[in-house]
């Protein structure tokens, strides 16, 4: 334990890991700015920006009026002026009012200006469900973001990934949508601050019989499922996709090339969800070896429901196990 806590390793919650990364980013580059609704004195409704205004100044960490299109528009203009903005929209569902700025402006300004105007913007979006929140506070927009040309999309699953991916995102000269799994903000884990492992997907658990592909809060659930599956003698590999755009197809193909079976899990609705893309990429690369069609265990094609029903909506351990079973029991018709 004493060794595990070497200087560069700390035990942090996902929210603390993000806070630390932001604070270090603000310290290392005077061009970094953090802003959004209630990110200043309040420290954000999830406290991700807690203390940053006090430490780095209220010019560099500032509250905006309540207007998401503006938050993105400001970020784009600030990037044009040479800054490296890290804006926040308070909840996933409030990315919609900013959608025109995200799609037609943020994702296109570098291209439109033929590279004259860089967009090193990292948009933080507390995402996904699982916390019994009000309506439109539990959205999963990854399929929408991943479809938009000119954006990159990252999604950490644990404190280490949160720290490492946020640093990589903010240091990137391209726009990154950074989707934070809000139901995991308070989960603790060891964080190695000098980790250089941030590119592509990540094998979160090695296994032989079947690959579960997930991101965000579903990674921890899939790891639980994997433990349960061992009881039936099924050895599950869990791939944490991490970057939802561009997708690390090589890692998916490597894993499923070995296991020959895959289930992709996400909270977003089924139809046109990112699971279709992941499944199709796996199928394209592993068609000859796949033993069953890739299964999808996802949210349903319904509005994200109220707290009482959210466990019915989010892929449960049972539903993921059913999905695994369908793949294992598949027989060519």
């Amino acid at each position: 334990m004493a060794e595990a806590m070497a200087p560069a390793t700390r035990e942090l919650s996902l929210q603390q890991a993000l806070n630390l990364a932001l604070s270090e980013l603000l310290a290392e580059d005077p061009k970094v700015l953090v802003f959004g609704e209630d990110v200043g004195a309040l420290g954000g409704v999830f406290r991700v920006t807690d203390g940053l205004a006090a430490k780095h100044g209220s010019e560099r960490v500032f509250d905006t009026p309540l207007a998401e299109s503006s938050i993105l528009g400001l970020a784009i203009g600030l990037a044009m002026a040479g800054f490296r903005p890290v804006p926040e929209v308070q909840f996933d569902g409030f990315a919609y009012p900013a959608m025109s700025q995200i799609v037609t402006q943020l994702g296109r300004m570098h291209y439109r200006s033929r590279g004259a105007l860089r967009m090193p913007v990292t948009l933080r979006v507390p995402s996904f469900g699982g916390i019994r929140a009000p309506e439109n506070h539990g959205e999963s927009l990854e399929a929408v973001f991943a479809h938009v040309p000119g954006l990159k999309v990252a999604c950490p699953a644990d404190p280490q990934q949160a720290y490492t991916l946020l640093k990589a995102a903010v240091r990137s000269d391209d726009p990154v949508i950074f989707m934070e799994p809000k139901s995991r903000y308070w989960q603790k884990g060891a964080v190695v601050t000098e980790s250089a492992d941030w590119a592509g997907a990540r094998v979160a658990r090695v296994g032989r019989h079947l690959t579960l592909v997930a991101w965000g809060a579903m990674v921890a659930r899939c790891l639980q499922v994997a433990e349960l599956a061992t009881e039936d003698g099924v050895d599950v590999e869990v791939v944490d996709l991490r970057w939802l755009k561009p997708i690390d197809t090589e890692s998916l193909a490597a894993s499923v090339g070995k296991t020959r079976r895959a289930v992709v899990v996400h909270e977003a609705p089924l139809t046109a969800g990112l699971g279709a893309e992941v499944a199709q990429r796996i199928t394209e690369r592993c068609f000859g070896t796949l033993r069953a069609p890739v299964e999808r265990v996802t949210g349903f094609d319904v509005p994200y429901p109220s707290g009482d029903l959210e466990d019915e909506y989010i892929p449960s351990i049972d539903r993921i196990l059913f999905g695994i079973q369908r793949v294992l029991e598949y027989r060519r018709g």
Partner: protein, 369 residues
């Protein structure tokens, strides 16, 4: 059409403020009306305080208190015509719902995490579902209101509809006023002369951001002039001021003359929600200084002072409020989760094979109990 209106022949500069019409006057409130408003405000105050307690007791996962905004909410809803107007609330409108006669168990079901939007019948009660998107329903109010004009049009002069138009009341906060949708709504309502009252509760805060770092110029009502729209900025803690201003605005809109802004200046005495920690952004001293007089106490003092009611009436209101809160508590406790099948069944008016298939799979893999 002369396009350079506002510029004289000389082309001299100016800001071309359009003329803003006057609102009609309304008679002062009667004593029974004032008593009724007091009764409603007592009931709302008790329910609101109770809901905060229920959250602490684990009965509600979260709640957005309206403490201090009772006069604004009860007063505005009291003024409407419950037969033909239609109200569009935010997530902090328990006082409006109660005044309209919505079942408060059905209202609290939102905060109980039973059903987003609440369980009441929006069409029947003429109160749209709870809106979690800040400013999300302000444009709906304009559309609904424009519909009243379209329905009233045909023969007669739409400027003077027979019997008057139904009016939409759009509730919004100071924070919401920063959203583009609110400008769009005000502009279109004015262009279409739609019968809408934009009822702004300026309670000083949008979570942690005070009005002066939110609303340029400091007043939402001040924007009316730019649209050529009448606007009233009133003491939102004075119940009669709220009722009268809303009545004036409604009368104007009802007559087909167009939209009006009413900005009720009030104060969010509590936290933003039960999850909030106001100590991070304002002090108790700030609160004491800024909150002003309590609207319920003010009305009570007036009723007693002017002899419009006596202590027995006040006590009776208190008792009724307490009994009501207790009944709501029991109702809320009895609220079970909605059947999971509603997730699928309530999406469309005309169900799809795809959702029936997904429901069947859900039943097979997840249905509990």
């Amino acid at each position: 059409m002369q396009r350079v209106q506002g510029l004289g022949r000389s082309g001299a500069a100016g800001s071309a403020a359009p003329p803003v019409p006057e609102l009609p006057a309304v008679p002062p409130m009667t004593a029974p009306e004032l008593r009724e408003v007091y009764r409603l405000m007592s009931s709302v105050r008790r329910l609101d305080e109770a809901a905060v307690a229920w959250q602490r007791q684990g009965i509600l996962p979260a709640y957005a208190p309206l403490l201090g905004q009772e006069a604004a909410q009860v007063g505005s809803a009291f003024a409407v015509d419950r037969e033909r107007d239609f109200l569009f609330p935010t997530y902090r409108e328990a006082g409006v719902a109660r005044t309209l006669g919505v079942d408060m168990v059905e209202y609290m079901s939102t905060h109980r995490a039973t059903w987003h939007g609440g369980l009441w019948d929006a069409a029947e009660h003429r109160l749209a579902p709870i809106q979690a998107v800040v400013a999300g329903s302000v444009l709906h109010a304009v559309g609904w209101a424009h519909g009243q004009r379209l329905a009233a049009a045909s023969p007669g002069d739409p400027q003077d509809p027979v019997g008057g138009l139904g009016v939409a009341v759009a509730y919004l906060g100071d924070g919401a006023s920063s959203q583009g949708d609110v400008h769009e709504a005000m502009n279109i309502a004015a262009v279409f002369a739609a019968p809408v009252v934009f009822f702004v509760q300026n309670n000083g805060w949008a979570i942690s951001v005070p009005t002066e770092r939110q609303v340029a110029g400091g007043s939402v009502a001040a924007r009316g002039a730019g649209y050529g729209m009448p606007a009233l900025r009133i003491d939102g803690n004075d119940a009669e001021a709220v009722v009268s201003a809303t009545r004036r605005a409604l009368a104007y809109a009802r007559a087909g003359r167009g939209p009006v802004i009413v900005e009720a200046v009030t104060y969010r005495r509590g936290p933003h929600s039960t999850a909030d920690d106001p100590g991070r952004y304002r002090t108790l001293d700030d609160e004491r200084r800024d909150a002003g007089a309590d609207p319920l106490e003010r009305l009570r003092a007036r009723l007693l002072g002017e002899g419009l009611a006596n202590e027995a009436f006040v006590a009776e209101c208190d008792a009724a409020a307490a009994a009501e809160a207790e009944a709501v508590r029991e109702g809320v406790l009895a609220l079970g989760p909605r059947p999971g099948a509603e997730m699928f069944d309530l999406v469309f008016a005309e169900p799809t094979e795809e959702l029936l298939r997904q429901k069947a799979q859900w039943r097979k893999e997840s249905e509990h109990g």
